[in-house]
């Protein structure tokens, strides 16, 4: 590419590459937000607390533990003992509450709309334990809204970058105006003349998109390393889902399409001017 591009075209190449980088980076950021929000939602909805009402004391706690071992939706059971209670209260500056009648539950396999708290309370009641089960309160679909905002925000940003790429690619058509005029004079139709310029711009956009996408990928890795101390290369494949790479894959394709479309429109306009005077 270096030898094939003049100075102005090199500047255009890097303009397109920067726009592709920005779009891909925004896409990666949106994927990161999506993953964090999804993990938050999973952690929030897979947690419940049981408060034992009857029988009181260690007897009630032991009976509840035994009953919960076979209760539906329950993945793990952890009574809140003195140490755990102190750990919870410490950040709040609260008093030492001693042993509690509370049990932390990790839930799994809760179908949407299922009444997990009711099912667990019923299972406890069958074993002679009266208890109240508290699930995470409804947050109004916050994580869903955050994920949607990240997705559509990145799409909107990518479209804005595509518009910038498209407009920038018009300058390539302007630099090829003499070719469009010559082709028009020699009998090329608008689509033939514009197609040739669009192809050239699309190739430029493809390479620029590859450069921008690659840079965004490198930037993403650097951010991961900064955000997760001690992250090893071996851990990366298990952390990164194929869909997380979509912005990097889309960058060259999107840049090629946007650059080609912009150059085609401009070249078509120049052809129209050359084809019909007056």
């Amino acid at each position: 590419m270096r030898n094939a591009l003049t100075g102005v075209e090199r500047a255009l190449f890097w303009t397109l590459a920067f726009a592709a980088f920005a779009a891909a980076a925004a896409g990666l950021a949106a994927r990161a937000v999506d993953r964090v929000a999804a993990d938050y939602e999973a952690a929030r909805t897979s947690y419940a607390i049981v408060r034992i009402v009857e029988p009181e004391g260690p007897v009630g706690l032991a009976a509840a533990e035994a009953a919960l071992a076979h209760a539906p939706h329950v993945a793990s059971v952890a009574p809140i003992d003195s140490a755990r209670a102190a750990a919870i209260m410490a950040p709040l500056g609260g008093p030492d509450v001693g042993p509690t009648q509370l049990i932390e539950l990790e839930l799994a396999g809760v179908a949407p709309g299922a009444d997990a708290a009711g099912d667990i309370a019923a299972a406890l009641a069958e074993n002679g334990v009266t208890a109240e089960v508290y699930e995470a309160s409804d947050d109004g679909g916050l994580s869903g809204r955050v994920r949607a905002a990240a997705f559509w925000g990145s799409i909107a940003f990518a479209l804005m970058m595509a518009a910038i790429i498209s407009l920038a690619a018009r300058s390539l058509a302007a630099r090829r105006r003499e070719m469009v005029t010559v082709m028009c004079d020699l009998g090329a139709t608008r689509s033939q003349a514009a197609g040739r310029i669009a192809d050239e711009a699309a190739v430029l956009g493809l390479y620029a998109g590859l450069a921008g996408g690659a840079l965004a990928g490198v930037a993403g890795l650097i951010v991961l390393w900064l955000a997760i101390p001690g992250l090893s290369l071996d851990a990366l494949p298990s952390m990164i889902l194929p869909v997380d790479l979509a912005p990097i894959v889309a960058a060259p394709l999107g840049a090629a399409i946007a650059a080609g479309a912009g150059a085609r429109a401009a070249a078509g306009y120049f052809h129209g001017q050359a084809a019909r005077l007056g």
Binding site: V182, D185, L186, G187
Partner: protein, 245 residues
């Protein structure tokens, strides 16, 4: 594409490459050509003389389908320009070799590549056209300058390159707008003779120029244009020129 059995095609088959009837044309609010009647036939050369700003270039634009007539009828290479689709007009333009007063080239390409452009557009590979283009380069006398970038060529060399490019696609009709501009009288005449030579292979040649002495270069049908009005003034000196050759 011209339809079979239509009057325009019949006209073309009869050898009339161009027939303008009562054509008005112009730019924006200004009318430049008024009621122009004109005909050019295959194997003939038409010389259109006239002073500066008489309408020669505008007439050339009409003939190369770049400027649509405002009124009247223009039938060029068997196609009624006023009714033709964009695709049909492009098809006709491929069969016209046009030498502009100020030819536009792809400046960073060599003259050779510019000359070969019509052949490349037709889908030919370099191995298929390289000999033909070299022959054309010799024919117009461009010589080694063909391997230089266009921006390095002199005005006369650019003119020769323009002629070679116009001839590369073996056009049925050749239009030359002031082809001797910025050239010495000797070079100018050689260029006009080159263009006129194409009548021998059946092409029609239309030359617009201020220089009335060009009629001595070859047998020509002479026309005069002044203030946008075209009139035929015969074939003066054509037989003499033929004899000289």
């Amino acid at each position: 594409m011209p339809r079979p059995n239509n009057p325009e095609l019949d006209l073309y088959k009869s050898g009339a490459l161009i027939r303008l009837t009562g054509v008005d044309a112009g730019y924006g609010g200004a009318t430049v050509l008024f009621g122009v009647d004109f005909e050019a036939r295959a194997g003939e050369v038409a010389l259109i003389n006239g002073p500066a700003a008489a309408g020669k270039t505008t007439l050339t634009h009409v003939l190369r389908l770049a400027l649509p007539p405002r009124s009247g009828r223009a039938v060029i290479l068997g196609v009624d320009v006023g009714r033709a689709s964009a695709r049909s007009r492009a098809h006709v333009k491929k069969r016209i070799g046009y030498v502009a007063e100020n030819p536009v080239f792809i400046e960073h390409w060599t003259a050779f590549d510019n000359i070969a452009m019509p052949l490349r557009m037709a889908g030919q590979k370099p191995r298929d056209y390289v000999d033909d283009v070299r022959e054309l380069v010799d024919f117009v006398g461009l010589g080694d300058a063909a391997d230089l970038r266009l921006e390095k060529l002199s005005a006369a060399e650019r003119r020769r390159a323009a002629i070679a490019r116009a001839l590369a696609g073996k056009p049925a009709l050749i239009l030359a707008d002031d082809p001797t501009a910025n050239m010495s009288p000797g070079d100018g005449r050689r260029v006009v003779r080159l263009l006129a030579e194409m009548r021998r292979v059946g092409a029609g040649v239309v030359i617009a120029s201020q220089d009335e002495s060009l009629e001595e270069c070859a047998p020509m049908h002479r026309w005069r244009i002044d203030r946008g009005r075209l009139s035929r003034i015969g074939q003066a000196a054509s037989e003499a020129a033929e004899a000289l050759e």
